[in-house]
Symmetry: C2
């Protein structure tokens, strides 16, 4: 057997996780996904993308949770209950949705690095449990430093033109694949929308892997 064939067979199956740090239901999935995927022996493909431009392409100039006040009122009630159910802390952000361009660029840069899951949880908790402005360089630096990472160096890399362009491209790719909200999961071409479908997506990914 060639090395390539052997790698193809032994590599764990992947669930793609498309998310934005401003999205409240992405928060739930960021907090849950690493442990759930590990329990099933699945890899996570971290896919940060900008939900704002995707919404704008669909004709919305803000989150549906802001544009529809009835739904918006409900969503925070739902978030309280969901967070209680999962044991996840919640403090409703004073600004919603928060844009967090630098934090997103760092996530893209770190997508294949070992700190990605911890970094995403850190940023998400700063937004949704501590009401900090994750759009600021100060808060992104703090998040990286908390993890013992070289914040300055990572931020410089994240702000390179090449990395900025990649985030725009990843956002276009999200729209091209039919993504209309976050979180969204893909297992191959099978799309699952929303934290409510994370378990189904993981189960499907595992079942595909078992069929080999």
């Amino acid at each position: 057997m060639s090395d390539v064939a052997s790698r193809a067979i032994t590599r764990a199956p992947e669930i793609e996780f498309w998310f934005d740090f401003g999205s409240n239901y992405s928060y739930l999935s960021v907090m849950r996904i690493e442990a759930l995927a590990a329990a099933r022996g699945l890899r996570i493909g971290w896919r940060p993308f900008l939900l704002g431009p995707v919404f704008r392409d669909l004709g919305f100039d803000n989150s549906p949770f802001v544009l529809q006040k009835e739904k918006g009122a409900y969503v925070w009630k739902d978030m309280e209950r969901q967070c209680r159910k999962y044991g996840i802390p919640l403090k409703r952000p004073s600004t919603f949705p928060r844009t967090a361009l630098l934090a997103m660029r760092v996530a893209l840069l770190g997508a294949e690095r070992e700190w990605i899951a911890a970094y995403c949880r850190q940023i998400m908790q700063l937004n949704f449990a501590h009401d900090r402005d994750i759009g600021s360089m100060e808060v992104v630096s703090e998040a990286l430093e908390e993890l013992g990472l070289p914040a300055r160096q990572i931020i410089t890399e994240a702000q390179s033109d090449a990395n900025k362009l990649r985030l725009r491209e990843q956002t276009s790719a999200a729209a091209a694949r039919g993504i209309f909200g976050a979180p969204t999961f893909f297992v191959g071409d099978e799309m699952f929308w929303g934290n409510d479908r994370l378990d189904d997506a993981l189960e499907y990914c595992e079942s595909i892997a078992a069929r080999g």
Copy 2:
């Protein structure tokens, strides 16, 4: 203890179920709710309402699943998977969403009668598993007759001015309570939106009852 007090204590706790026969996620809940509520010893308050006027009040002239084509494409994929998961038959309706005014009026009339759950399942399956026009008198009659009910008499009652007015009032009540989609569940003032929250709503209802 007075009779009134005794009834108040012994009456099973209620989950209110707000639904529209045109709504695909209401289909899932209609098919599931009776058995799930019975298993927990809960009563169901059947609350048919017209989703169309509620959407129009919110500024939408059709279902979001029609207005947003990306979401619409996803929803039928999701429905296939959800129906497979729950063991519920599905054939995508050739007309969506179907308006079913007479069928809804019959549901309102029957809300407190013993045949309501079976009738709702019958109509829903005609729409979502057999692609029949549940907006027609013929199909509503057929559904009632299948259940051994006096179709003609029920339809006459359902079309009374008083019953028509009640359905308009119930629809206004839905909007007044902050309902923006279907299915929606209420346990007291606690609102739960979507078939994905049916289990949480039932669990909450049971926990409230236990605290009594």
